[in-house]
């Protein structure tokens, strides 16, 4: 399935321009409609709890400022979308907090583009674990861009971290349109039983990818990649410019084990990561 609607998170962050530019390039590549989504940062539940349609007067000034900031961020989005020559785009102001707004909007898009949380630039009212929250609560793939640096294009080599799980299976499905445009796709068997352990079906995955016109190879690392650090160093060893992986939270037992990998990758990633839960 192709990407026909791409949502990009628009905010006042220093990383927003690079994020919007990459989303715009993706929209152009895939012939997709681009939605720039800015949130007012006031929960919809707060707004509906009031008697009127405005927040109580004590915080009205603050709400006004947040609204103004969101509109200004959307102006920035509009300029970048125009400059990139995106054929079809729209600005969307959602009266909700970032996590709630992005989750609700995700139902009407094929791909969400967000940035990794930058500990040095956490904006007022921002949610530190926004990428993790969104990834765990949407039925869509999330493309997460590193705060360190983002190249303007996604090509080169993709690393698919494959452990045969539901999450990995969703991630590779959600990444298909991206994988089709990469120069090289490497499937890395990601199994805590050690490299080359049988049963995870990497060979069948290759067949499935081939029927989608994606020629991938299997890489068996000499050391296991059962940790986030190992996965990231393998990605840099292979010069991968995209990582595709299942994402896990920390609530349930099996996620407690695997959530550590996700957490490390979310903290230390230096290339774009496509995640699905």
């Amino acid at each position: 399935m192709s990407y026909k609607t791409i949502d990009v998170h628009v905010d006042a962050s220093v990383h927003a321009p690079a994020r919007i530019q990459l989303a715009a390039a993706l929209a152009n590549d895939h012939g997709a409609h681009l939605i720039g989504a800015a949130m007012t940062c006031i929960s919809r539940f707060v707004q509906t709890a009031g008697s009127g349609d405005r927040a109580p007067s004590a915080v009205a000034g603050f709400a006004e400022k947040l609204h103004h900031d969101a509109c200004q961020a959307l102006d920035g989005f509009e300029n970048l979308a125009r400059a990139a020559g995106v054929r079809s785009w729209e600005r969307r102001l959602v009266a909700d907090d970032p996590e709630g707004g992005l989750v609700l909007l995700s139902a009407f898009c094929d791909l969400l583009v967000l940035s990794q949380t930058d500990p040095a630039h956490v904006a007022a009212g921002a949610v530190r674990d926004l990428p993790e929250f969104v990834m765990l609560n949407v039925a869509r793939p999330v493309l997460l861009l590193p705060y360190a640096s983002v190249s303007a294009q996604l090509d080169g080599k993709a690393l698919v971290a494959w452990d045969g799980s539901l999450e990995a299976s969703r991630a590779v499905l959600g990444a298909l349109p991206l994988l089709g445009r990469m120069r090289e796709v490497v499937v890395v068997q990601f199994d805590e039983r050690g490299p080359g352990a049988p049963g995870a079906g990497a060979a069948d995955l290759l067949g499935w990818l081939a029927r989608h016109d994606i020629n991938a190879s299997i890489e068996s690392p000499t050391t296991g990649i059962g940790s986030g650090e190992a996965l990231l160093s393998l990605a840099s060893e292979l010069h991968a410019s995209l990582i595709v992986m299942g994402g896990y939270g920390h609530t349930r037992f099996r996620e407690l084990l695997l959530g550590g990998v996700t957490k490390t990758v979310l903290e230390s990633m230096t290339v774009p990561v496509l995640l699905a839960h």
Binding site: M1, V94, D96, L105, S106, A107, A139
Partner: protein, 153 residues
């Protein structure tokens, strides 16, 4: 009671097309009913149905009991769904269906009333609380379906 279709849907990351046991020749996907309630499962099901319903004569998105607080200013689920599907070359209309207490029965009677030949819906299991509430619809449909059903988790 072990239920194979339900087990498979709940344990894989792909849509599952379930054929009814009632005999008949099925022309899948001329008149399609997509059940949507804003959940992840319903959203997955809707998207996974796109390749199957692109050539359909009618695609109706039944919006089950949409709660007003679920749509803050800036989001209009009915309009957003129609636009989303249109960008995938699927022409759809929406229909608001109140009374989610018996969503399964409501869907089955809509299928009969509108003469649908494919039902698309999210599948909910029975373990967690919200699945306890929503799993009933899945069970009711799996028990009494008379047309093919595309389910996704």
């Amino acid at each position: 009671v072990f239920n194979l279709p339900e087990y498979v849907v709940l344990n894989c990351a792909r849509p599952v097309l379930i054929a009814p046991y009632a005999s008949g020749e099925y022309k899948v996907g001329r008149n399609v009913l997509i059940a949507w309630n804003g959940s992840k499962e319903a959203t997955s099901a809707m998207t996974s149905a796109i390749p199957l319903v692109r050539g359909a004569d009618n695609v109706i998105v039944a919006m089950l009991d949409p709660e007003p607080q679920d749509a803050p200013a800036g989001i209009a689920p009915a309009a957003d769904i129609v636009a989303y599907l249109a960008r995938h070359q699927v022409r759809a209309i929406t229909l608001t269906v109140p009374g989610a207490a018996h969503a399964g029965e409501a869907l089955l009677s809509l299928v009969a009333e509108l003469d649908c030949d494919l039902l698309v819906m999210g599948c909910y299991g029975h373990t967690r609380f919200r699945e306890l509430l929503l799993g009933g619809a899945t069970r009711a449909v799996l028990r009494s379906m008379s047309v093919p059903v595309l389910m996704a988790q």
